[in-house]
Subunit: 300 residues, 2 copies
């Protein structure tokens, strides 16, 4: 049995002082940061309850929702991250941890589909390994905040295919490392590669989070995008997407990943000479030009 700590304030509950009664018991916290975090959480939690004034049935419904969300989590599914995503919390945490000077490229969420060991290719390689989808060329430059090209920048790209699936979601159906690759900029800071136009896709909607979205009249779709991790020693790594402006879900990404500065232009190229030069066989391809600007690594 633990001896009571007589230096604790009396924790007699009152509705008025409820949060202070609770946090007052943390004065012997072993972990000062935990205590600081739980202070903020407790005060906001109590304030929210006081605004909502839930019935006992509503409170129990919340308990059941959290329990079902936990039970949905396993080695393959993280329903609490999904909840964080659809409530904009993942984006907010990302934003707080990647504040940059004006003009530098903005972050967005990493997402669950990055793989660490994608192959490195020479510029111009087609990362679509199964020839499915509408041809696309992606190109641009990586610059510093003064507009100077940056050499030796590692560009790690990955994207869903023309049906909205990543290779890791369709093992056996898509080639391994389909639509992923690593490139490195040369002296002019430019990059380019070939791929296929990605498609929008749904976040997993068969669990408690999907039911929440349904009750809120929200859809589970993410607009089509390409993922990038852009890194160079001495610069702040940019983990981001670029988005297709013509996607039907561009204005309301289910996980709020879209920032205005990350919307690219997808230009349809129908000039036979350009198509031939790219070595494509169709009657058109999509051209995407997008530059990135890296900020110097923030002093920590």
């Amino acid at each position: 049995m633990t001896a009571p700590n007589h230096s604790l304030p009396k924790a007699y509950f009152t509705e008025e002082d409820s949060a202070a009664v609770v946090t007052g018991q943390n004065i012997n916290a072993k972990d000062a940061r935990l205590s600081e975090v739980m202070d903020v959480i407790t005060h906001h939690l109590h304030a929210a309850v006081k605004e909502i004034e839930p019935t006992q049935e509503e409170w129990f419904h919340a308990i059941q929702f959290l329990t079902a969300t936990g039970h949905k989590c396993d080695d393959w599914r993280q329903e609490f991250i999904l909840l964080s995503d659809v409530l904009g919390v993942s984006m907010l945490v990302d934003a707080i941890n990647s504040r940059r000077p004006k003009g530098a490229s903005e972050n967005t969420v990493l997402g669950p589909f990055h793989v660490a060991d994608a192959p490195e290719y020479p510029m111009g390689t087609n990362i679509c390994l199964d020839a499915k989808g509408e041809d696309m060329v992606v190109r641009g430059r990586v610059l510093d905040v003064d507009g100077n090209p940056l050499e030796g920048v590692k560009i790690d790209v990955w994207q869903a295919n023309d049906e909205g699936f990543y290779d890791v979601q369709q093992k056996g159906l898509q080639p391994e490392f389909n639509l992923r690759g690593v490139f490195r900029t040369g002296a002019d800071g430019s990059y380019w590669f070939k791929a296929v136009r990605p498609k929008h896709y749904s976040i997993p909607a068969d669990g408690p989070v999907g039911a929440l979205l349904d009750g809120l009249g929200r859809h589970p779709w993410r607009p089509a995008h390409l993922h990038y991790i852009i890194s160079k020693d001495g610069f702040d790594t940019v983990t981001t997407h670029i988005f297709d402006p013509d996607d039907p879900y561009i204005d309301n990404d289910a996980v709020f990943g879209v920032k205005e500065s990350l919307i690219a232009a997808f230009d349809k190229i129908e000039d036979p000479a350009k198509i031939a030069k790219m070595g494509f066989g169709g009657t058109y391809y999509w051209n995407v030009d997008f530059d990135f600007v890296l900020a110097p690594k923030a002093a920590t």
Copy 2:
């Protein structure tokens, strides 16, 4: 595929307007109350994140904590209710749903150990069925807010034994329905029964909530108490405890169930004549006098 709803506002994420960007997507909610609740939750959640400024590691630690809390829940264990309890949320929801006129007895949390079908006994019955513990007499009156005695009030009592365990936690070790019973007041509004002095006990501390308490330097103990549900047609049902003022944990109940008005007095009676009159065999017993005041049922 759901067609996008073009009347939705653009949900391009910015750190400044993060909560409004998220809740702006709820304008087509099927469930207006859910939308209202999620509005409040989203705004407080984002405000808390902005105050805390969690690192990505801290955010992931929170995800892992919630996941582990969900995984701890099964048919016998409800770790999210425990979390609600130790953060004072269960008490707050109870308080919001049981506001009463001044002078009326206050509620506290029901707890998980009530059983619906406890036997009804005549006044004065000893509800301790195994003769273990220190003898106790509990008595008092049930009154209306004007001080008039109330007849025909159902008093449902239950308590832990002298080692801090309820019968349902020790099936086979304690007799069924040990330390539980139902009584009904007569014309004078009085009640009395015999039992044994209850002992403090720990909430389940072997899960994520126990680890949280440990990090916060908090203990998992509840001070000794008796549970009551006091009901009569036309009156607001009182679900409450009365507490032992001499318990080492009286000032810092792990679940914040103690209200000042619910602290009883436990008087040691050593007068041999009184002991004999009660039919006890020891050298002392504890006397607890506690009146309850019922408020008229609130109009709904």
